[in-house]
Amino acid sequence: MTTSVRIAVDIGGTFTDIEVLDGATGLVHQFKTPSTPRDPSVGLIEGIRQASRKFGFDTAHIEQILHGTTIATNAVLERKLPDGAVLTTAGFEDVLAIGRHGRRDVYAITLSPPPPLIPRRHAFGVVERVRADGSVETALDEASVRAAAARIREAGASAVAVCFLHAYANPAHERRAGAILAEELPGVAISLSSDISLEIREYERLSTTVLNALLMPVVSVYAASLESRLREADLTRQIYLVQSNGGVSGLAKAAREPARLLLSGPSGGAAAARRLAAALDEPNLIAVDMGGTSFDISVVHQGAVATVNEGEIDGLPVRLPMVEMRTIGAGGGSIAWVDNGGRLRIGPHSAGALPGPACYGRGGLELTVTDANLILGRLDAKAFMGGAMTLDRDKAVAAAAPLARALGLSVEEVAAGVIAVINSNLSTAIRLSLFEKGLDPDDFALLSFGGAGGVHACEVADDLGVNRVIFPEHASTLSAWGILWSDITHDLTTTDIGPLEGAGEKLARHAARMTAEAERLFAEDGTPEAARELRFSLDLRYAGQAFDLPVPVDGADFSPSALAEIARRFHAVHRQRFSYDEPHTAVEMVALRLAAIGRLPKPVPSPGTSRPAGTAPMMRPVHVDGRVQDVAVFDRGGLGDQVARGPAIVSETYTSSYIPPGWNAAIASSGALIARRLA
């Protein structure tokens, strides 16, 4: 048994969650400490110190710190970004301002979209032109780059995004322009579209590059401060930051390519879901995370987390690989209201943490989902947040009263109505999330985590026809637990559009170049040979289609027979996702992708300790299907080998689970609480 210690830290708005895997004992510990938003690294270091005292490990044994951070995300959402500039092909300076035209709110009449991240006056064109096939129509005019550099200096920009047309096909002009800018503008962050997102579609690539350029100063400053604080604290260990793709990267790469951190929030939960899918022998999981303001859905299918190659933040496209997530604005703090057509609506407004639900007694006067759960008795007024907070049922009832009057219902009927409506919102979102992938809820189990989800999960499963719900251990720090098992993941792309047939030699050349690049990154990370893994995939489509599908490639084999096998796989994937295939239509490739994975060493966790004997439940009056009845309330730690027969409640420090009539729940050997619907 090694003595090494591995630590995962997930920094949220309110709490910093820490998971510790102690190689000396094989035990995994959880710890929560308040976040320090002004400098998150303060809370991180303080949390690690406290954890070391509490769990008795030596900080000198820490080998790796894996760190999930919202620093990039928040900088964009709050627009706390430096002044930037854009360098484009002359004649196309407005691509950022124009975007893709489509509007979201079909009937909106006062259309005033927010201004672009970089003002129009800071978009500069340079004389150059590359064609779609990568050939040069107009050579790069270096004088025009230097002229633009002078204007950028004048404008005082500290970050420059460079995005030329068809740079995905030939990055030479971007590279040369980047070199000139670096010469002319020392100290200014420069990001080339061909470095961060080598993909066709100029607006999406530019948007990604702009985000990356503007975040470079932000994340560099954070990385430097984190490193120096860790050095001061004598914690000079390997630090990794969690990326949107579900893996981690070293600090140097994160500072170079910070756009890869932007949608990393779901990565920890998805990594946890993937690990649980394997541990529980449930290859198909719908992972739902319900907190105070939102409900996030991700999908593990056949043991793999569903990923996509594009997402968006605050309406801005980010063309990078990321965990696929559907989010709706439905959480414990979502506010219920009656519109002037007499409809009972929930959200999208949320009471947030402040004032919070009415029952928190912090000045909230509007009825929230949490208030409705309290009114029905599904939450315990005295034992909320492990007893750290007392909930005020009278305030919840007072908040429900105006809705009761408007709808002509009793307060309890309103509360039950709020639960019914939110449950139907949640199950609808899940159904559509599976449906768009060609998947069927019947083949899945539901994995519920996040503080607010436990009281809804079984009823949502009922709506979907899902008959197993898994409540993992330590659901409130699950994201940090997932991060604990992450590996380094670099995503590399080569865009090359053309027929798949006969492309073997070209693909082999691309693969060799990408492999060399991956080796360079592995060396930068210090990943040993034995821990390196290369996974190639091809984005394919039928000739003429607008959308492509990723198809895995075995090794880097692009021989004619391997290509035939890849095409066969494509037809099969196409049939599953789109319900038809065309085996006689030519298959076109769009991009070759490489996920270069550097496996980080992990201490081996010991199997869980034997379960303590069960302690008898308390009884509490709860509204069940319109009637008040005494319901058994189990403490999760004391459930032991007992079966909680619905209606029942299983309560733990940061969450409660409601087991409705027709369901039974018990602790499985893995430590997870598993609820099953009776046949």
Binding site: G91, F92, D94, V95, A97, I98, G99, H101, G102, R103, V106, Y107, A108, I109, T110, L111, S112, P113, P119, R120, R121, R129, R131, A132, E137, L165, Y168, I200, R201, E202, Y203, E204, D339, N340, G341, G342, R343, L344, L407, L409, E413, A416, G417, A420, V421, S424, T428, R431, L432, F435, E436, I497, G544, Q545, A546, F547, R577, F578, S579, Y580
Partner: protein
């Protein structure tokens, strides 16, 4: 019968919207044409047994408000309710049987609860080509609907689940890209099956009586909200006239006259005094006109109201038969959006007299549809088809949005890199047009300019544009937006200006086509514009003086 509570109504509404969404995802997943997949020109909905639209996948306003009208016509004039069997599918694209224009093919299928027909599910897809005088079926020279493509009268495409292959063969023999049309029709058929399954899941879960009551409660809820919104309008009439350039064949302008009168909690919108139907293909049938009116009233008064047939009940639309807003068979209609957008801006213009603070100045109000056909050395034909947009009007709350898809349509642009990878063209410019937004306290959004060079030996250009003579109006003292124009600059440097609506214009290698779209109108007296706003406009180059 016991009435169901508001909670059950809301839960069933959720499920019905999800049914429409599942149908929409099915079409997206299974269709083959880029019109559907990239431009997203399709819609799906669930209806009650009278053909009233209950729930829809919100995408394109002009589609959604029109499907219900089509189904109601089918039920009243072609297939009475008791003639629909389980598994039947009715198809049509005929503007004179409730359809829109020929490229928009609609399909409907009944939903049964036991023996009872409790409702319908429906789909509408814009197909890439339905034959006629020009590729893409936008034929500016059409004088009768017979020149616009194949007309499919209301027919049973399937009976009791068995598809009538003869109808498919007949349709596919008359279109230029039968593979894509066939694929998209299969997608529409598949989506109906998914929709029926989803609604039957609701029946299974909540029972037929609850579903039927919920559907009526949903309609009544929207109607109630719409009536309340209308009742808040001031009690006087308003009158507005919009002038459309022309029909592409004869001298314009085409006059759209609209008079709005509130009557209690209802509203009458009367087009008396509008021009007679025209020779060229910009005519609107009554159903098309209603669709634009519903959009405008809903956007102006009830953007928060769930859009369904209940919203339309308080709105009475009067159109003079044989006018450009109630064209009679066999008038051509493919370029209907030329007039359709302007019906909406006419209604907005009249409403602005009643509620000036809530209505924006006019937007560009035309779907700038263009198609460039080329023939490759191999003889392969290619059609580059695209849609441009312009600026939205200034409004009491701020400046109008620049280069945004507005009003009755809602499509995305085709990326330049995608276009160049597929068609023999090279773009030379794509940008906002300074000074194109109407001046005002709140400036109109800017139009845009898109220019590309033809790299093939020969090309043939068609455009269905507008606003070459009559710019988007300003409101409350604001100035109008800019005019649109199309220019071809020849390789030798000479240039020619094109008319707004053309087909078969010859282009040669090296010719550059420049399309300039209109900016939106301004809102409020320009003298009231804040100095900061003026200096920012100048600094950003939104204006040059």
């Amino acid at each position: 019968m016991e009435t169901i509570g508001p909670v059950r109504v809301e839960v069933i509404r959720n499920a019905l919207v999800a049914a429409a969404e599942e149908m929409s995802l099915t079409i997206w997943r299974t269709s083959r044409s880029t019109v559907v997949r990239e431009i997203l020109d399709y819609s799906t909905a669930v209806f009650d047994s009278r053909g009233q639209n209950i729930a829809q996948s919100a995408r394109i306003p002009v589609h959604l408000n029109s499907m219900s009208a089509c189904l109601e016509t089918l039920l009243s004039a072609h297939f009475p309710l008791d003639g629909w069997q389980d598994g039947d599918i009715v198809i049509t694209n005929d503007p004179y049987s409730g359809g829109q224009h020929l490229p928009d093919i609609m399909t409907f299928r009944p939903v049964f609860a036991g023996e009872t027909r409790i409702g319908f599910v429906g789909t509408l897809c814009h197909h890439v080509d339905v034959g006629g005088g020009a590729a893409g079926s936008y034929y500016a020279g059409a004088r009768e609907i017979f020149q616009e493509g194949i007309r499919i009268p209301p027919l049973k495409l399937a009976e009791r689940g068995v598809v009538n292959e003869a109808i498919l063969k007949m349709v596919l023999a008359n279109v230029r890209q039968p593979d894509e049309t066939s694929g998209d029709l299969q997608a529409q058929i598949a989506a109906l099956g998914i929709g029926v399954g989803a609604v039957q899941r609701i029946i299974h879960r909540y029972g037929t009586p609850d579903l039927m009551q919920a559907m009526q409660a949903i309609l009544e809820g929207s109607e109630r909200m719409m009536r309340a919104a209308i009742a808040s309008l001031p009690d006087r009439t308003a009158h507005f006239v919009e002038l459309v350039d022309d029909d592409g064949q004869t001298e314009g302008p085409i006059r759209l006259s609209v008079r709005i009168e509130r009557q209690g909690d209802g509203i009458v919108i009367d087009f008396d005094g509008s021009s007679p139907q025209v020779q060229g293909p910009v005519n609107n049938t009554r159903a098309m006109t209603c669709s634009a009116v519903y959009y405008a009233v809903l956007a102006a008064l009830g953007a928060e109201i769930p859009a369904n047939s209940g919203c339309y009940r308080p709105i009475t639309v009067r159109v003079p038969p044989g006018s450009v807003v109630d064209a009679q068979f066999p008038a051509p209609v493919t370029g209907r959006m030329v007039v359709n957008h302007r019906i909406a801006t006419a209604v907005f213009g009249a409403l602005a007299q009643l509620i000036p603070a809530r209505i924006p100045a006019a937007y560009y109000a035309i779907s700038y549809v263009y198609a460039l056909a080329t023939v490759e050395a191999t003889g392969r034909r290619r059609v580059y088809f695209d849609i441009e947009v312009g600026g939205w009007g200034g409004h009491a709350g701020g400046d109008g949005a620049s280069a945004l898809s507005c009003g009755l349509h809602n499509n995305t642009n085709a990326p330049i890199e995608m276009v160049e990878a597929r068609y023999p063209v090279t773009f030379t410019h794509y940008g906002l047009i300074p000074d194109s937004g109407g001046d005002g306290q709140h400036r109109g959004g800017l139009g845009l300019s898109r220019a590309f060079r033809l790299d093939a030996d020969n090309g043939s250009l068609s455009t269905n544009f507008e606003r070459f003579r009559h710019p988007p109006y300003g409101l409350a003292g604001g100035k109008p937006g800019s005019l649109s124009r199309t220019t071809i600059t020849r390789a030798d440097g000479t240039s020619i200006s094109l008319a707004s609506k053309v087909s078969g214009i010859a282009m040669q290698r090296g010719d550059v086509l420049t399309i300039e779209t209109s900016g939106g109108g301004g809102w409020g007296d320009p003298a009231e514009r804040a100095e900061e706003a003026r200096s920012r406009d100048l600094a950003e180059g939104y204006v040059t003086r």
